[in-house]
């Protein structure tokens, strides 16, 4: 909504901020070293509010934990906005100068009173009020979030509702204030930067922008399709409709990671051709017609990745790739050659320089500077530019530089797609554990004492009602399927809510039951909210 696809702030800013809203993020486990910066902020006197259905290990460091019902984030955010306005704590000068659409926003959030929000979110009105006042009156404040915000069918609305709060209070575009989405993978930011989005060229240049279009066509010497592509979720829909008949998958394991995974596996198996390029024989690779073994990007190959603070950093080869594995860029180049286009054999540095020539955000980041300066944060448009610790400082300039003031968004509370019913009375949400990662392809390579495998966390009250004990193996069923798994009885998980990780699909195929409802704008599935029932297993207990 501010016009750039990245977190606004540097990690070190959170060490100096006054108020932290940690929203839908268990950074203590999912982003542990970022959480070190948060801890420094807390040690320096910051107040932290943790908004999360679970009382996570991160929430335990917060001054206040607001344990909202799953999928009620928009209601919470709108209530914060309403309370800030009702108390006269909005930043009127900033709103007048740097935003647009405030009156419509104000009218829209009017019904979201504290009492109404308490009813929807389950969080006491007083706690919501306290957070609203703390955030609005702080000199500097940051909102940090991760997949607890985005992995919903209305994830984009969730994000917009948080951005509204920053706009309302002027907590953006200044050192110490900002909006911080923490990225889940070491180069998910870099993927977006490089144009791995359906509608963007590298550097977030719109493919519909005629000037950008002409620039790329001139450099590549060919016509470029002006129509946006489609995102992953729509690709699966297109496979379902028979419109996509082949796929070339690089470094992704959708046969384990997709919600309602059984459906995804059937679609992948039904393709005319599936090519998978990966460092491992993943479940997806097992379905492929052709597997292209590649080197490990961060330990066997040179290149760059971009972090959650928009810092482009060098990765370097430390060990040789085994056997016939080749670097990703070599494989792609060879594929192009077989298709009749010879790109030569560019080095990672030459590829980087090609990008710099096309993306103004990266223009000033020479390979030598990336080496010497420990990485650089975009935008870095010129060779003498120091990089940008935070974004959107222009919002505070007297002259907005021809830019449109930043728009408020109107977002409505919807709640999870899948309602709780008598048949499926418990809420299931998913997330990461400290020692593991995604489908376990990488973290499965080492064992450690804190690993417990995927287990269903359930409140003692629910466990007692179901007559199940800690460690017992149970049957977990959603409208899409069933899995067997062990139970961990946990007092930190609220009554009515259950939680599991998804790191061991060979042992617990959890995505058989997760919800594949997805966001219209981002394509992200609602991994955070399924409805389930938990049943005792009949017969002798199988060994878990």
């Amino acid at each position: 909504m501010f016009g750039a696809g990245g977190g606004t702030s540097s990690y070190t800013e959170v060490e100096e901020t006054d108020v932290i809203l940690l929203w839908g993020s268990n950074a203590r486990e999912a982003h542990p070293i970022y959480f070190h910066h948060v801890l420094k902020g807390l040690d320096n006197g910051a107040t932290m509010y943790a908004v999360d259905p679970r009382r996570t290990s991160s929430a335990k460091f917060a001054d206040v934990w607001l344990g909202l019902n799953v999928g009620t984030d928009v209601a919470m955010a709108n209530a914060l906005g309403r309370e800030i306005i009702a108390a006269g704590l909005e930043n009127r000068e900033f709103i007048a100068h740097s935003s647009q659409g405030f009156e419509a926003y104000k009218a829209h959030v009017e019904p979201y009173t504290l009492d109404y929000a308490e009813q929807i979110t389950g969080v006491p009105a007083e706690a919501i009020r306290e957070m609203a006042h703390a955030y609005a009156t702080a000199e500097t404040a940051q909102i940090l979030w991760t997949l607890g915000i985005t992995e919903h069918h209305n994830g984009v609305d969730n994000v917009k509702s948080l951005c509204n709060l920053a706009l309302l209070t002027g907590h953006v575009g200044r050192w110490g204030s900002g909006l911080v989405p923490l990225r889940g993978q070491n180069n998910v930011q870099g993927g977006g930067d490089m144009g791995a989005l359906p509608n963007k060229f590298p550097g977030f240049q719109d493919i519909g922008d005629p000037e950008a279009h002409a620039k790329f066509e001139a450099v590549y010497g060919m016509e470029i399709n002006p129509n946006p592509g489609i995102h992953l979720t729509l690709m699966f829909e297109a496979m379902d409709e028979g419109k996509i008949k082949g796929a070339y998958i690089i470094g992704e394991n959708p046969a384990d990671s997709e919600a309602d995974v059984d459906h995804a596996r059937k679609l992948l198996s039904g393709l005319d051709i599936l090519v998978v390029q990966d460092i491992f024989m993943t479940r997806t690779a097992e379905l492929a017609d052709v597997v292209l073994p590649s080197s490990v990007g961060w330990a066997e190959c040179d290149g760059t990745v971009t972090s959650s603070e928009r810092r482009v950093q060098r990765v370097r080869a430390a060990v040789p790739a085994p056997g016939e594995c080749r670097h990703d860029h070599d494989i792609i180049g060879e594929l192009a050659r077989r298709l009749g286009v010879d790109w030569g054999n560019p080095t990672p540095e030459e590829l980087w320089d090609e990008l710099r020539g096309l993306s103004p955000l990266h223009q000033g980041m020479s390979w030598d500077r990336l080496e010497a300066e420990g990485g650089l944060q975009w935008p870095c448009p010129t060779i003498d530019h120091p990089g940008s610790p935070f974004l959107h400082g222009w919002l505070w300039e007297d002259d907005l530089g021809g830019r449109d003031p930043s728009p408020f968004s109107v977002t409505e509370h919807e709640g999870p797609k899948e309602q709780l019913t008598a048949e499926f009375p418990l809420r299931l949400t998913t997330g990461r554990a400290l020692d593991s990662y995604n489908t376990g392809v990488q973290s499965g390579g080492f064992e450690n004492p804190i690993r417990y495998g995927d287990a269903l966390d359930i409140n003692p009250v629910d466990a007692a009602e179901l007559n199940i004990e800690n460690g017992e193996r149970v049957l977990v069923t959603s409208p899409r399927g069933s899995v067997e798994m062990d139970v961990r009885v946990q007092p930190d998980i609220p009554i009515g809510l259950t939680f599991t990780t998804f790191h061991f699909p060979d042992l617990v195929d959890i995505n058989l039951i997760t919800n594949d409802e997805w966001d219209r704008d981002s394509g992200t599935a609602e991994f955070k909210a399924a409805s389930i029932r938990v049943e005792k297993l009949l017969g002798p207990r199988s060994e878990g």
């Binding site: 540097s10 990690y11 070190t12 999912a30 982003h31 542990p32 070293i33 970022y34 070190h36 801890l39 040690d43 460091f61 923490l182 990225r183 889940g184 993978q185 070491n186 180069n187 998910v188 930011q189 491992f280 490990v296 990007g297 961060w298 330990a299 066997e300 990745v305 971009t306 972090s307 959650s308 603070e309 810092r311 950093q313 060098r314 990765v315 370097r316 080869a317 430390a318 060990v319 040789p320 085994p322 420990g374 990485g375 400290l434 020692d435 593991s436 990662y437 392809v441 990488q442 973290s443 499965g444 390579g445 080492f446 064992e447 450690n448 004492p449 804190i450």
Partner: protein, 289 residues
């Protein structure tokens, strides 16, 4: 943005030195090109003043002062190489060396040579030996603790506690010769509050806490620092972008550290960054002894 810095002027070994206010004497010495030994101080930790190796003489001060913790002051007159300082450092290093196995602390050997320390002259006394002779604690596949090599510098405690990790899994228990870095009630590490970030390994100056991989290679007499390389890269887990230093020998990763002077990690990592690299070399013996 211009940050106005107040400077203080002092004399170190007769030379005029000017540093920003708040700079430690240790840092001021460094800026004057004087190498001051220290065990318990680290760039990424708060000074705890326990090792006494870094002491210097400050004019007007009755006792020697720890340079790592004492800020430089206007007009201070500091001696880092006086007879008194050399004598003190020599004694401290001898005490350390007489009670602890310092084989894996090459820096300490260098200092001992510099100050003519002879820890052997304490061999005739039996008391220091009370601290020696424990078998290394091997309670998991990730790292070991060898108390014979521990100089009680507290760095691991600081890194586990409020200087970085905030897990508070270890502290010093006992008194005098009985003092030990310990988990609560000396419970085995896997049952303690430890989350295996290994930040204690990262700051340990003597190898008392070390990677199991390093321990095994040393045990097999195959730890060859001259054949090792260090490559800086970025961790493959999550999107924080932690800088890793991959230590390699014979084209295999053998351990991972992080640079303490980088703004992302300040030298600290989590369990995945520190130990999660094994998948790169799946044919090697797995880390699951």
């Amino acid at each position: 943005m211009t940050i106005l810095e107040t400077k203080v002027a002092l004399r170190i070994n007769g030379e005029a030195v000017e540093v920003p206010a708040g700079t430690s004497i240790h840092k001021a010495c460094e800026s004057a090109g004087i190498d001051t030994p220290t065990l318990c101080w680290a760039e990424n930790l708060t000074p705890v003043n326990v090792c006494r190796v870094c002491v210097v003489e400050v004019e007007g001060s009755r006792a020697l002062v720890p340079s790592c913790a004492r800020p430089a002051e206007e007009g201070m007159v500091v001696e880092t190489d006086s007879e008194r300082v050399r004598h003190s450092r020599k004694m401290v290093l001898e005490f350390l060396g007489s009670g602890v196995n310092l084989e894996q602390a090459p820096e300490l050997h260098e200092w001992m040579q510099r100050y003519g320390a002879e820890p052997e002259r304490y061999d005739q006394y039996e008391m220091p030996a009370v601290r020696m002779g424990d078998a290394p604690k091997i309670q998991d596949n990730l790292f070991i603790r060898d108390y014979d090599q521990c100089v009680l510098c507290y760095k691991c405690v600081s890194a586990c506690g409020d200087d970085a990790q905030h897990s508070f899994a270890i502290a010093v228990s006992g008194r005098g010769f009985g003092a030990r870095i310990s988990t609560e009630y000396d419970t085995p590490l896997p049952d303690s509050a430890c989350v295996y970030c290994g930040n204690c390994i990262g700051v340990c100056p003597t190898g008392a806490i070390q990677f199991k991989t390093e321990f095994d290679l040393r045990a097999a007499d195959d730890w060859r620092p001259d054949d090792q390389d260090v490559t800086r890269t970025i961790c493959s887990y999550c999107g924080v972008g932690c800088n890793l230093e991959l230590h390699t020998q014979d084209e295999k990763i053998i351990k991972v550290t992080s640079p303490s002077d980088h703004s992302v990690t300040n030298g600290h990592l989590c369990i995945k960054g520190r130990f999660g690299w094994q998948y790169v070399q799946p044919d090697e013996p797995p880390l699951n002894a």
